[in-house]
Amino acid sequence: MSEVPLPYRVTRVRPETADTVSVALAPAGEESLAPFMPGQFAMVYAFGVGEIPVSVSGIGDHELEHTVRSVGAVSAALCALRPGGRIGLRGPFGTGWELGRAAGRDLLVVAGGIGLAPLRPLVTAALAAPHAYGRLNLLVGARTPDDLPYAGQVHAWSASHGPPYCQVTVDRPAPAWRGRVGVVTTLLNGAAFAPGNTTAFVCGPEVMIRVTARELVHRGLAPHRIRVSLERNMRCATGHCGHCQLGGVLLCRDGPVIGWDRAESLLSAREL
């Protein structure tokens, strides 16, 4: 349903970091929303408070997961949910990562902090079809070790021999940190991919997206093979409220995932 929220029930709640929580949701009644694709988002409604766009961070048979960082009134209300609590959901909205278009290619998944959330179902889908793709690289950067979402899963991945071939770096290490320190692009040297036959999927803060995409172009990736997920204010998600404009792009309709060939100029103009 696109205009009116459908009631969903909270089935599980998992704290990710100090300000971030993952909430698993199942339909409260008979009806459920159409299936979500990795990279798509829902409008999540906290009763009496309001609604925000949140990408799906997990897609199950009967469940959806959303990872929410508490930054405003609505996200704070969502982070305070307990199992059994009720919320409203609209969706699915937007373009997904369109993993299928990367069939036969090496995959380079680059995440900054909570930017890993929308990429997580993409990694899950790629792992579920190991023969459909080339090498699956997952590069994750976080401000500090404590800011790493899905830390258990990510550390398990990086300790294994893959896939995914996972590497983690932080900007500011904690005393017990034994891993890499530095920005996420420093991990590219250790990733195994053939630039001419690679699709990259990038999500994180805008500066991180810009730096990563430029570096990937420098290393020989075609701009349209670099898929980035962007964010703007959003009220309706149906292409009618005008808030998510980024130049000629309506992010709720033409995004949130767009190619770097389109995104580069949009992210280069200040205050667009």
Partner: protein, 388 residues
């Protein structure tokens, strides 16, 4: 269906009979009428409410009613409102949610009785503006259901322009003072030695049917050619014009222009231009709860890209400066609208020029941007010639 002819002539009584037929169909007839020193759009009970004998004098930042001796009803230019006030109202409830004692939610979509409108006196620029909003709100993957219902039931009577205002520039936006498409009936008002009358053209089956119930006389060739001549003359008397260049690429090439700083120094970021613009569609939502806290409502209301909160993201606005917000407004109207909805977002009605409190004129801003870009390209060429 009755085989009424495709044209007719009505006198003032005939116009009143037309209003009567539409009201008898259960329609809410909305038309221009004088109120508080302006021609506003409001429900009218008879044609007597139309602004007979009133004209308007407009300039950038100025609007004044002036009496006319010829008694014309449609000799005024566009006022502070447009038909979006009825089709895409300023405030609208979208849905209501209730929370039961056990915490369960139920959400109910809004299903009110939609009025069946008849709009009398829609200017050709406003016909095009309605078509622009149709593309935004009623086509594409998702539809605005409220808009669509109000729009589908609306009966449109155009009033062609014979007295363009000083801020009008529809011709340079690809339109003109003649009603071309999207109307049920089109009127051309004539006041000459033959008398005060309205030449009517039929634009749809619904229009033909309504007209068949109105006492009028067949239009002779004289009336028809007088009507054409009056509208053709108006085409030559536009108050303003956009520079004759590709505005879409001009805006795209001007994102870093200095002119934005110049206009930002004058603009109050009041958002008046967006409120009066007949194509501006942006809205925001409000959450309203009752005292028990168990009943919540979602309301939609007009919003403006000049508002700081409009682009709020992660603790601050993306478009903090007046420069970036004016640039968003103008580039959206003239350029990125094509990318998003396949047409220009400006129909040249002139409202934003008239109702800007400091008289900022988008035709002048576009011309200045064009001059700046042309000068920049000239300098580039000269440099390349010097250093081949």
């Amino acid at each position: 269906m009755t085989a009424a002819p495709a044209t007719a002539v009505l006198d003032r009584d005939g116009l009143d009979a037309l209003v009567g037929v539409l009201r008898a169909q259960g329609r809410t007839v909305v038309g221009p009428t004088v109120r508080d020193g302006a021609v506003v759009l409001a429900e009218i009970a008879s044609a007597d409410a139309l602004p007979f004998g009133w004209g308007t004098e407009v300039e950038a930042g100025r609007y004044r009613l002036v009496p006319r001796t010829d008694g014309a009803a449609f000799a005024h230019t566009t006022g502070p409102q447009s038909w979006k006030a009825f089709l895409h109202p300023e405030r609208e409830r979208l849905w209501s949610a209730d929370r039961r004692a056990d915490g369960r939610l139920s959400v109910a979509a809004e299903r009110p009785q939609r009025p069946s409108y008849a709009f009398l006196g829609v200017r050709p620029c406003d016909l095009r503006a309605i078509a622009v909003q149709d593309r935004v709100l009623a086509t594409g993957r998702h539809r605005d259901r409220g808009y669509q219902e109000r729009r589908t039931g609306a009966f449109l009577i155009a009033a062609e322009c014979t007295e363009p205002g000083a801020t009008c520039f529809c011709v340079s936006m690809g339109g003109g003072p003649a009603a071309e498409a999207g109307y049920d009936l089109a009127l051309t008002e004539l006041v000459d030695e033959t008398g005060h009358r309205f030449f009517v053209r039929v634009g749809s089956d619904a229009g033909r049917e309504v007209l068949s119930g109105v006492p009028g006389r067949p239009a002779g060739p004289g009336t028809e050619s007088a009507a054409r001549a009056a509208v053709d003359a108006a085409r030559e008397r536009m108050g303003r014009a956009m520079p004759p260049v590709d505005l879409r690429t001009l805006m795209g090439d001007s994102l870093e222009a200095d002119r934005w700083d110049d206009v930002a120094a004058r603009c109050l970021t009041c958002g008046n231009c967006t409120m009066v613009c007949p194509t501006c569609f942006c809205t925001t939502t409000e959450e309203v709860t009752d005292l028990t806290g168990d009943h919540a409502e979602r309301w939609q209301r007009w919003d403006s890209c000049f508002d700081l909160d409009f682009s709020y993201l992660h603790g601050g606005p993306v478009r903090a400066s007046a420069r970036s917000r004016y640039r968003q407004w103008l580039t959206h109207k003239l350029s990125t609208w094509y990318d998003q909805f396949g047409s220009s977002g400006c129909v040249g009605c002139g409202r934003c020029v008239t109702w800007c409190p400091v008289g900022i004129d988008i035709t002048e801003e576009a011309a200045a941007l064009h001059d700046e870009l042309a000068a920049r390209l000239r300098r580039q060429d000269e440099r390349e010639e010097r250093e081949p």
